[in-house]
């Protein structure tokens, strides 16, 4: 029983991060109908940036966290301005392929800057003593992860429901021209969505780095897992992202625990295939509400 609990808690921790990355996919998808396949690279850059600032330069960890996330958000803006905005006919497919290209490019740059070795990154609190929960060990970093992800979920929810900018962003996503004729600067809303989504990815990178170590190629798999979680929960649904992420994390952890660690990554893709065959709209997704 305590073994099961251990797997469950480990799964929830990684699942929370998948959920956060999925949230990044969603924020952008809701505002632009775009899937950004460079999302995983933002996760990687968040982790490596945090490493450079916090470990190499010795900045306080809190400040390093904030600075890494801010820098990656800026990079998100830049991606939109430099690579996506100039496209003459902004149709989804070419734009998505550009994001794939951006992901390869960013990975290459990261390899040049940081090399191929993985780095270990300290947790947000110095104590490495695990906390005992019903006989299962929980690392303090896990608590940080779950806490931070929940905080971001709630924050994003309140932002969307309570603030004018949140509503304006939603309006833009539903009908860009309708929002435009009310005076909402839709291009700025799209930029904001890019910054948010990149920032969310970076947060994921910073909080997962102490558990997995970080390296230039960590983003690919994490991005795919996050995408899988978003699909599982229903693309565009924030709560779906959380549910999908945790579900995926737990399934993975159980598969590794009871079968073999070799099938860890296969789980995500089996789940992705399953959801695409059985319920393409995802668990919590509105069944493809037509936007007009």
């Amino acid at each position: 029983m305590s073994e099961f609990l251990q797997f469950l808690l480990t799964g929830i921790t990684t699942g929370a991060i998948y959920g956060l990355i999925a949230l990044g996919f969603n924020v952008l998808y809701n505002a632009t109908d775009l899937i950004n396949f460079a999302q995983g690279e933002f996760v990687m850059l968040g982790g490596l940036g945090f490493y450079t600032l916090g470990v190499v330069l010795g900045w306080p960890l809190g400040l390093s966290f904030a600075a890494a996330v801010a820098a990656v958000s800026l990079l998100g803006l830049l991606l939109e301005r430099v690579a996506l905005r100039p496209v003459k006919k902004p149709e989804p497919l070419p734009l998505i392929i550009i994001t794939v290209g951006a992901s390869i490019f960013l990975r290459g740059v990261a390899m040049r800057l940081w090399g191929k070795d993985p780095y270990s990154v300290p947790g947000l609190t110095a104590s490495a003593e695990p906390v005992k929960v019903f006989g299962a060990a929980v690392m303090p970093q896990s608590l940080w992860i779950v806490g931070i992800v929940v905080a971001f979920m709630v924050g994003l929810h309140l932002f969307g429901k309570r603030t004018l900018t949140g509503k304006a962003m939603e309006a833009c996503a539903i009908h860009r021209n309708a929002a435009w004729i009310l005076g909402i600067p839709s291009d700025r809303m799209v930029l904001l969505a890019f910054a948010f989504s990149a920032g969310l990815g970076a947060v994921g990178g910073v909080i997962i780095a102490p558990i997995t170590m970080c390296s230039y190629d960590m983003g690919t798999m994490l991005g795919l897992k996050g995408f899988c979680a978003a699909m599982l929960g229903g693309l565009g649904s924030h709560w779906g992202a959380a549910v999908g992420g945790v579900l995926l994390g737990v399934l993975e952890s159980l598969a590794v625990g009871y079968f073999s660690s070799g099938i860890k990554d296969a789980v995500a893709f089996l789940v992705l295939l399953g959801i695409l065959f059985v319920r393409p709209a995802g668990l919590l997704g509105a069944s493809a509400v037509k936007r007009f």
Binding site: L164, A168, I174, A178, I181, L182, I184
Partner: protein, 248 residues
């Protein structure tokens, strides 16, 4: 108030407006009638800034607006109620209406916006009743009212209406146009584009007839209503004339 001179605009390489001119004076209700595809919507969209004109002038209160983006045009005091209403269906009625005041809320005019919300809900009590419901759940007539209410929240001096009668039962059409007259009495100037020429000209001060991208006729609304050519082309026979014709 609004002067449009020799406006040319279109989509891709196809020109839809071949040099259109018109004027709207403060306090008027001006109707533009014409058949489907005459360029009526294109004209309003160009004035509202959604389409960049190829050539020509748009002057609003002596300010050149041609080629400006919609947010700037809304800020100048021109609102648009588009054809098809363009609501935000999953959002609540209240959110839809409030977003109409986006620029004013950005400026921090919270108090004034709240007062306007009350006024708009007074004007359309049915919307007040359904303020919590998603806009997509409203009936066609209520959606049209919501689109007008939303546009009013920017406090426009000139309101452009694109086919407000589309898809509505005659009784509702009448109600919508009554509301226009009432709002006009409160100082809002209107430029209304309509296929339902009779309903539009009945409340308008002046009218224009747009035909395949050109203004072919203009005059006082009453004159246009009585014009033989307009009658034949755009008014059809109403059921009484039709019945009389049969009786004879």
């Amino acid at each position: 108030m609004l002067i449009v001179r020799n406006l040319r605009a279109g989509y891709g390489r196809i020109e839809a407006l071949h040099g259109v001119s018109l004027s709207v004076r403060q306090g008027e209700i001006v109707a533009i009638v014409g058949a489907n595809g005459a360029g009526k919507s294109t004209l309003l969209k160009t004035i509202a800034g959604l389409i960049v004109p190829w050539h020509g002038e748009v002057l609003f209160q002596d300010r050149p607006l041609a080629g400006r983006k919609p947010p700037e045009i809304v800020a100048a005091g021109i609102g648009l109620v588009p054809e098809g209403r363009w609501l935000f269906p999953p959002m609540s009625v209240l959110d839809n209406v409030r977003l109409g005041a986006y620029l004013r809320l950005r400026r921090g005019d919270k108090e004034a916006v709240r007062e306007d919300l009350d006024r708009v809900f007074e004007l359309f009590p049915i919307l007040a009743e359904r303020r919590k419901q998603p806009a997509g759940s409203l009936s066609g007539g209520e959606q049209q009212m919501l689109a007008i209410a939303r546009a009013l929240m920017s406090r426009p001096k000139l309101l452009l209406l694109d086919e407000p009668s589309t898809g509505l039962a005659p009784l509702l059409v009448e109600k919508i146009f009554e509301t226009l007259v009432q709002l006009n009495g409160e100082g809002i100037t209107f430029l209304v584009v309509e296929q339902n020429a009779r309903a539009a000209l009945a409340v308008a001060t002046r009218g224009y007839v747009l035909e395949t991208g050109r203004m072919v006729l203009q005059g006082r609304a009453q004159e246009l209503l009585e014009d033989q050519e307009v009658k034949r082309a755009y008014l059809g026979k109403d059921y009484r004339e039709f019945a009389e014709g049969r009786a004879r």
